[in-house]
Amino acid sequence: MPVNEEARVGFYICHCGHNIANMVDVTAVAEYAAKLPNVVLSRDYKYMCSDPGQEMIAKDVEVFKLNRIVVASCSPLLHENTFRTATSKAGINQFYFQMVNIRENASWVHEDKEMATLKAKDLVRAAISRVVFHKALEKKKVPVNPDVLIVGGGISGISAALTIANAGKKVYLVEKEPTIGGYMAKFDKTFPTLDCAACILTPKMSAVLKHPGITLLSYSEVSAVDGYVGNYHVKVTRKPRYIIEEKCVGCFACIDACIFKEAKFSDEFNEGLSKRKPVYIPFPQATPQVVLIDDKTCIHFKTGKCPQTCAKACDRNAFDFDQKPVVQELEVGTILLCTGFQPFDAARAPYYGYGRYSNVYTSLEVERLVNASGPTGGHVVLRDKSKPKSIGIIHCVGSRDEKTNKWCSRVCCMYSLKLAHLLKEHTDAEIYNFYIDMRTPGKGYEEFYDKLLNEGVHFIRGRVAEVSDWAINDHEKGKLVIRVEDTLIGMVRRIPVDMVVLAVGIEPGKDAQDIRRMFNISCSNEGFFLERHPKLAPVETFTDGIYIAGACQGPRDIPDSVAQAGAAAAQALALIDSGFVELEPNTAFITEELCCGCQVCINMCPYHAITFDDGKGKSHINEALCKGCGTCVAACGSGAITQNLFEDQQILSEIYGLLVE
């Protein structure tokens, strides 16, 4: 193995309180490291990431003339930057630093102190033999495009858009549905204050539309993302409405004039509880107030033989049946993903009879039923138009269940209480809540529960076994029977009701995986977007410049979504206002003298950063496009490509150091 005699390494091992020191013998490791080649100084310290820890490095560099720093502590994903900054402050290039992960990779995952210590020694030896071959590098600064893309126009996206636009930045808000508003627009009241959802949401929706800094791209989807933090190129596909958006004023004359006199197609906004025409607007306050044509049901698109009464009724010539999807390209610096969730599909819990018994409803359907602008004008009636006299609300449908989703959906207890209250108000029926645990953490939430307890709503603690129409006596005839073990009295009970409401949980949107791939971020196990750190970076992702907010990151209610949207907006604004980003200098470069022009490397690069210069007969890497994966390096038979920070010699020395004492 080659050596570098000029390297003077300072080694530091962190106790991390007891987090490391309890499982790794830090003193032994420090003593061991002191004897390794190139090591001038070796110390252990309680908290290396603390100010005194960092200052100690600076002092040692001066006194001991150190020119390489190795810190053994936690994961580099957490504190690499901290120590690089400390290294830099101490007056040496920040890339003369190497971090050893002995917490996440050792002390937290092992039980045998001797083995964990041995492992720590190996890792330390590897880092020290690597760091001597480190080179001084500079981070490249690139300007940040101040424009922001927000994907998803639910309450999170709306809040973030307004916050960022109010700060004077340009926002593109992309929504795949014809209107913004998301699920909140479907709700009647919001818990625990019971203010009307529309009353607090629609002003924000119109503020988005009117804001000069916000460009709303509704009925559109992001189809490609390219670039890097500060400089993303985004392609947005605008789906055809067959209506020229700028011309439509939302007079709805076309809807009245549609050849279908009666609405006969399932209305998505009302969860299929009402009908709409092929030309429609999702709901009266839809934003933008622009109608659209559903080409799957429109006679014109199905047969080409429609007299187009709708278009004729439009005195603004807003109809264009030849519209095609249009791709719009955007340049933005930061991206906020607020793509929301999807409700659990109640058919996946067949034991509750959804789809089998017509009087089993999902909570979202009931939101529409109790809504004054809903399909029944706010009258809670069953499908046969009768008024229910008894209603059972089953909590945790799809949630907290090994068979379906393991997680708690966080909002169901509270919205079930809200629906119980509203249903009571609307029908005066006997209401039964079937819950596993009541989870009401939140400001005013427990008080709301208390209020419901005093409203005469029944609470039965137990997981419902099944809903069926199996009556065993006259009392149950014609009703839906809820069988449940009441765990408070230790008995199996049968509760006959007229209506069953399934409090369906929250799960990742069905396109979450596609979105994740497109934006190059990760998902946690259950499929929600993965935050950079669960506590310290809850709205950031592992891809710089891409932030997440709302229920796409995990189940959450409106207040939390809005708060998170604010946090994500603040992160984006902070980045924009700093004006530039520093890029990790782990890019690759080609030593032209060695390049033979075989062009094997060119296809290795997914970013087209490698081009072939026909004149010279050599390949060339455009550093600005290189993202530093290093795949081309391993492909080069000449060894002509080098990846900064991951040079062959550095990695080979690390391997050698790991294994050879």
Partner: protein, 324 residues
């Protein structure tokens, strides 16, 4: 030519070699006269009747340049390597075998026992009912007979003695030898010790005239007789496995010029630790396919990958030999 300058003393020796390297020295043709104008050949078993004992008696450092070709395969090779090191000012590992082990080095895929069994017990042309194996020492009526002992591991010259320079090739191009020799004679500054000389700093593709593109996407490889080479396109792009992308140039792309794929005899470039791993990576990087089955189909079409990628470099590679 300055006659007052004393003539250089030149030795050529072969270890485990095929003789091709010696022939390559002869292949300098009339240039041999130029060489002999500046040098006296003091030892060359293929051409001169100088005994080992004569060499052993030469004063240390009395030979100016020794070209040692062939790998170190037995005790005789090793003994002479030590002797020649001692007697020579400049010891050059000449040819792929001395440099990286070469074709004889492929024996490192087997053990001594396997080889001897194959040759002395299983060979089709054999008549050895008693299964007699050669012994380093045999008692005969006249006394003890000694033959060199056959090693289990084939070694490169550099693994046995300190080597000054390496000239790669199977065999090295004669022109390169003349160039190197003339550089030494004319007193040019010699490259740092341990350098590969008489070859390019770039790989074969640099000199190869065939058309190359970035569209590799190989789905399978062919044996050369399975396809018709179009004579123009990069052989690898046609699915004919060519070691060019990771093999040092200097031969004049002889094989590819002759429409045969490069076999890798010139070895890797400077700084490449393991020639076989390097060419493996480059070749695998040209493959297409995402499903494991597709990829397997492509990789399985390479017959004997280890023997192909390490054809000339097994003893000089990181693992040196088959490890179990």
């Amino acid at each position: 030519m300055a006659q007052d300058k004393p003539k250089l003393k030149l030795a050529v020796y072969w270890g485990a070699a095929c003789g091709g390297c010696c022939v390559s020295v002869l292949d300098v043709h009339e240039k041999l006269l130029d060489i002999l104008a500046h040098a006296d050949l003091v030892f060359w078993p293929i051409a001169l009747d100088i005994k080992y004992k004569d060499v052993e008696e030469m004063p240390d450092g009395s030979i100016d340049i020794t070209l040692f070709n062939g790998a170190v395969r037995n005790s005789e090779n090793e003994h002479m390597a030590h002797v020649l090191r001692q007697k020579s000012k400049i010891l050059i590992a000449y040819g792929s075998c001395a440099y990286l082990g070469g074709i004889p080095g492929l024996a490192n895929f087997s053990t001594r026992e396997e080889l001897l069994r194959r040759v002395y017990e299983e060979s089709e042309s054999l008549d050895n009912p008693q299964k007699i194996h050669p012994q380093p020492s045999t008692e005969v009526s006249e006394g003890h007979l000694h033959i060199p002992s056959f090693y289990n591991d084939v070694l490169t010259l550099g693994q046995v003695v300190d080597v000054d320079y390496y000239i790669p090739g199977c065999p090295p191009q004669s022109e390169r030898l003349v160039e190197v020799f003339m550089d030494i004679v004319s007193g040019k500054d010699l490259p740092p010790k341990g350098s590969v000389i008489g070859a390019s700093i770039r790989v074969q593709c640099d000199e190869c005239k065939r058309k190359k593109s970035d569209k590799k996407g190989i789905t399978r490889f062919y044996r050369p007789w399975e396809v018709t080479d179009d004579g123009e396109t990069c052989l690898n792009e046609q699915g004919i496995l060519c070691m060019g992308p990771a093999t040092r140039a200097g031969c004049g792309v002889r094989c590819v010029e002759g429409n045969a794929p490069c076999r890798g005899c010139y070895g890797p470039l400077d700084g490449i630790g393991d020639a076989g791993a390097r060419i493996l990576s480059a070749i695998a990087s040209m493959l297409d396919g995402k499903e494991p089955e597709e990829i397997s189909r492509a990789t399985d079409s390479i017959v004997d990958p280890a023997g192909t990628f390490y054809r000339f470099s097994l003893p000089g590679s990181k693992l040196r030999r088959k490890v179990s």
